[in-house]
Symmetry: C3
Amino acid sequence: MQLPYYIDMIGVLVFAISGALAASDKKMYQDLFGVFFTGFISAIGGGTLRDVTLGVYPLAWVKDMNYLIFITLGVIITVLFKRVIFRLHKVIFLLDTVGIGVYTILGVQKSLQYGVNPFAAIILGMVSAVFGGVIRDTLINELPLIFQKEIYATACMAGAVVFVLLDYYDFHSDWNAIGCVLLIIIVRLIAVKYRLSLPKIDL
Amino acid sequence: MQLPYYIDMIGVLVFAISGALAASDKKMYQDLFGVFFTGFISAIGGGTLRDVTLGVYPLAWVKDMNYLIFITLGVIITVLFKRVIFRLHKVIFLLDTVGIGVYTILGVQKSLQYGVNPFAAIILGMVSAVFGGVIRDTLINELPLIFQKEIYATACMAGAVVFVLLDYYDFHSDWNAIGCVLLIIIVRLIAVKYRLSLPKIDL
Amino acid sequence: MQLPYYIDMIGVLVFAISGALAASDKKMYQDLFGVFFTGFISAIGGGTLRDVTLGVYPLAWVKDMNYLIFITLGVIITVLFKRVIFRLHKVIFLLDTVGIGVYTILGVQKSLQYGVNPFAAIILGMVSAVFGGVIRDTLINELPLIFQKEIYATACMAGAVVFVLLDYYDFHSDWNAIGCVLLIIIVRLIAVKYRLSLPKIDL
């Protein structure tokens, strides 16, 4: 799957908006810098950690200014149209779900392409999708969302595992990528709708 | 601007002292290891994140032992002369302000030199100056200072933006660098004196 | 000292178990994902930060799938046999102590091999041994253990310093490595037995 460039930019925009919105829960972050910073980290955190782990330079947002332009756009949209965005929270949620689906599979593909073992490729796919949120939540001193909320990272893992398995059996077609992105989206939507969560372990 | 080596070392020393002093607010950190660790992170955190983001190896403090010697010196000074240093808190504040000014512009210059886009160069300049403090505050479980206090990161941003703009229009002279360092220092001094802060955003 | 491969794998297993056990203190982490994640970070965090700092790619766990297999094994063992493991907490403690000893000296050796200055080699040796735990504790919003508990990082430092000094005076034999690993183990055992800690600094 060669991700069309504009889908990548939409992903960056959506993650920046969701990051900037997250800042609104913390009084401390409610100045322009705090809002930009959380939007920025949310948008580039996952891909950056993946590429630093792989040792792949230069990083995308360092080379290509459009990433930062779309992040800025997302932050400005959030600040100007917060009420509208809150009313559109279902749209944001949907876009965010599409975003983690696309970023997971792209992360797995890029990792495999750099000769990474399949297990590590699954982890790096998940990292691409969720790490921005983890760093953001850690910085604002909250237990990261991925440990509290519904099956979030697990949806990414499911898609990544299926993709790697099919890829291993030479099922290289774009349909594998598209199908696994859809799998992630569907698992998360079902989990949220029926409030599913992983079984607690009585340690 | 070719930063004279001794200014770099003074910057490391000052950041190490301010890190070691920060450890004094937390009982848990008041042993020699905790004080050294916070001083160390404060001094090298920003430059390390910048260089890892750029993929520039080897890192300065890994290659050149003087960084670690000056950090150790800063920690020892803090432990031995804490009373004097507390009385000198205005001097420390001034040195810290000079430090973030110098590190911001140096970070921008180094980034541009590695072919980074101007927007990313601004961010990496800010990272050079403030990230040591962010990591330190996160580790000791406090909301990072840059989100609470006066226009701290914003002063760095102002200087970085002006530098990049003038540099873009071929204004390469050292006066650009020196002027922008001074701009950062002045913005921060004014912000602290008049307790300015960025406008809150009512999200 | 060429570390036999199986010792490295045992180290990974032990660190993964101790990480997974740590998750049991936090209700939020008690699903399968949370337990795996903390085990994973605890096992690979230190070596990853060391290698990213050195700029040495590819990272071990990214190249060699056995790391992730042994981490998964550690997590499964923890989940299935938690009661047994709790009863064996002295064995785990001993293995963990051996682990930080081995990882410290290996980290120092690897760093020196890449031309790092001796002071930085000591720090990177300590990082190899303790950073996994620091990141884990920061993520679950606790003050990192190394700042609270007995002489933990300090034991690593003692071994690293002695190793670097002897190595500097051309004492390259494996006995240096083995002796320094034992030194770390002994310092920590004595510190825990007699509840030693570093002197508090009245800042």
